[in-house]
């Protein structure tokens, strides 16, 4: 009798959570629909960039935090996604004008697709590349894995610089159509967030975390470690590719320098600061990172207050961020969220306590 009640209550709770999520999403989109009137272009840009970083950081966190495999090459998949979207969405005549050193090769020189299919193709290419990189790399672990993936990341930058008929070399690509707006970026950020949250509590997510805690024990209980690692990296590759594509369409210009190890470093700061293993942490830290780097931009530019002239200090932003990373690693390793996620249960349990349910959930 009591057990039945509990089950009913838990089911009810699940329904409430779902409703609240739907309400949250509707709320965010209502806000976004008014944003054009409420906010200035600068704030909108910050919101856009944060959302793209959210997609990227959450995808990166899946491999580095949830799966616990230290990968240092997300910039490779981001670059692939960005170049894919740029090449697919640019109008044919703009392409002919941009490639002044060597003409663009077929088939890119004659196709022009809308944004959504381009993003999907970017994601698929990112996923495919991740699978190919993962196949040999996951023979290695720990710092060796880190270095090999760093090598792949650097190689993609070298390729982007040298494959002139595809990437236009060091000049990069300009005039990428800027289709992306708040709906696109926040839509993908929310999609990534809910996908990752569901993934984390699925059997696959549990297996990823088991691998992080102890690979040999995970293998012992029948988890195919290699397959799960590849799966996680492939999923991450998909979202990194999509995120890269969003970035290209948001910025309008890309070049190989954008995708150097610097990019990986930024994402690393975000996921470490948010808490390795927490998607909520990665998302919130993305927002904090983008806003903070905009605020610190003030330090880098010269300021004039009446007659007083304070010269800007270029490079100061990275000093602050690298110190922040060292500080977090030395004194605050769990970061903002540790491995926890934000959930409605916390709020609901406070407002409408369920006798005994929370306790039972842990043990069952």
């Amino acid at each position: 009798m009591v057990a039945l009640d509990k089950e009913v209550l838990i089911r009810k709770r699940r329904k409430t959570r779902f409703l609240l999520n739907v309400l949250l999403v509707i709320g965010i989109f209502l806000f976004l629909s008014r944003a054009d009137h409420l906010l200035d272009p600068y704030t909108i840009r910050i919101l856009n960039v944060s959302a793209v970083y959210m997609v990227l950081a959450m995808a990166y966190n899946l491999v580095n935090g949830t799966l616990g495999q230290f990968m240092l090459g997300p910039n490779a998949f981001i670059a692939l996604g960005a170049y894919t979207v740029a090449l697919l969405t640019m109008p044919v005549d703009k392409k002919a004008m941009s490639y002044i050193i060597e003409p663009l090769i077929w088939p890119f020189n004659s196709i022009c697709l809308p944004l959504f299919p381009s993003l999907l193709i970017a994601g698929i290419i990112g996923a495919g590349a991740a699978y190919l990189v993962g196949m040999p790399s996951f023979k290695l672990r720990g710092d060796y894995l880190a270095i090999v993936t760093l090598g792949f990341g650097e190689m993609v930058v070298v390729l982007a610089n040298n494959l002139v008929p595809i990437t236009n070399g060091a000049l990069g690509l300009k005039d990428i159509p800027r289709y992306v707006n708040l709906y696109w970026t926040w839509g993908w950020a929310l999609l990534t967030y809910f996908f990752m949250r569901l993934l984390r509590t699925s059997s696959y997510g549990r297996a990823f975390e088991a691998i992080r805690e102890d690979e040999i024990a995970a293998e012992g209980i029948g988890i195919d470690v290699r397959r799960h690692k590849l799966l996680a990296l492939t999923i991450a590759g998909f979202f990194l590719g999509v995120g890269g594509g969003l970035l290209a369409s948001l910025l309008g210009t890309i070049d190989p320098k954008l995708f150097s190890f610097f990019f990986t470093f930024n994402l690393l700061i975000i996921i470490v600061f948010g808490g390795l293993g927490s998607f909520t942490g990665a998302a919130i830290a993305s927002l904090v990172f983008v806003v903070l780097s905009e605020l610190l931009r003030a330090v880098e530019n010269p300021i004039n207050i009446g007659p007083i002239h304070i010269p800007g200090i270029p490079g100061m932003r990275m000093v602050v961020f690298s110190l922040l990373l060292i500080f977090v690693m030395l004194y605050w390793q769990r970061g903002l969220f540790g491995r926890k996620e934000l959930s409605w249960d916390f709020l609901l349990n406070r407002l409408f306590p369920l006798e005994g349910v929370e306790k039972d959930e842990g043990s069952s």
Binding site: G142, N161, L268, P314, S322, M329, L330
Partner: protein, 297 residues
Amino acid sequence: MGIVDLFQQLANGLSLGSLYALIAIGYTMVYGIIRLINFAHGDVMMVGCYLAYFGVLMFRLPWQISWILAVLLTSLLGVSIYIGAYKPLRRAPRISALITAIGVSFFLESLGLVIFGGRPKAFPRPPAFDIGLNIGGVYLVSFTLWIPLITAILLVGLVYLIYKTKIGMAMRSVATDIETTSLMGVDVDKVISFTFAIGSALAAAGGIMWAIKFPQINPYMGIMPGLKAFIAAVFGGIGNIFGAMLGGFLLGMIEILVVAFMPSIAGYRDAIAFGILIVVLLFKPTGLLGEPLKEKV
């Protein structure tokens, strides 16, 4: 390509390889002892270059004294990085220390940018290193010979230090087993600090000679030599000093010769090293001279 050209390229490869070898030793010594990839090593080298630069141009010191001071100060920097950033994490998971090392690396680069400015500076080349030579038709500038010579002297000194002195014995002992060594009454922290000092001093020496060879210095100059020296260390077998030397020389030679024989792929020069790294790690992760790793459950 004639035989003269070949000798020319071999000389270039030898001097580039010596530099990789010098820098690689710092990586391999630190990795051998605390299993940490010291990401900041290349940037320590950059700081060494700037110290030598300022010694000559700002404080008007003779270049010999300026170089020696730069090497000493850089080894101090290495020790302070260890004490400030890595020592608190010695018992933490290895990945934490690696992330911190990446942070230190970016910190040095961006601080260098703030203090030294982003514009490349011309490194003064002492006259003794700047004599044009013609040896049987092979045209060389004298630094091409000085670099391997100085490297050889430093390496002989290092091997003596590690295999014939007490502190060298302590270093080898710590590399084998930290816990047991500390039970034997060795001050492990002191030994690790000393290792950082030696590694950073060699990095500074390598960096100064790098600046002699490529006389433009900027705050990001340490990244590529650092990465490639690390690759050289892995190539030779990380943790093994002779491996680092061998890996460094081979990597320098391969890079120069590949570009010399196939000028059309010169743009992919940096990718060669990473290609080697990936192949080595996938097929022989212990490198040429490394010992097989044991997997502990």
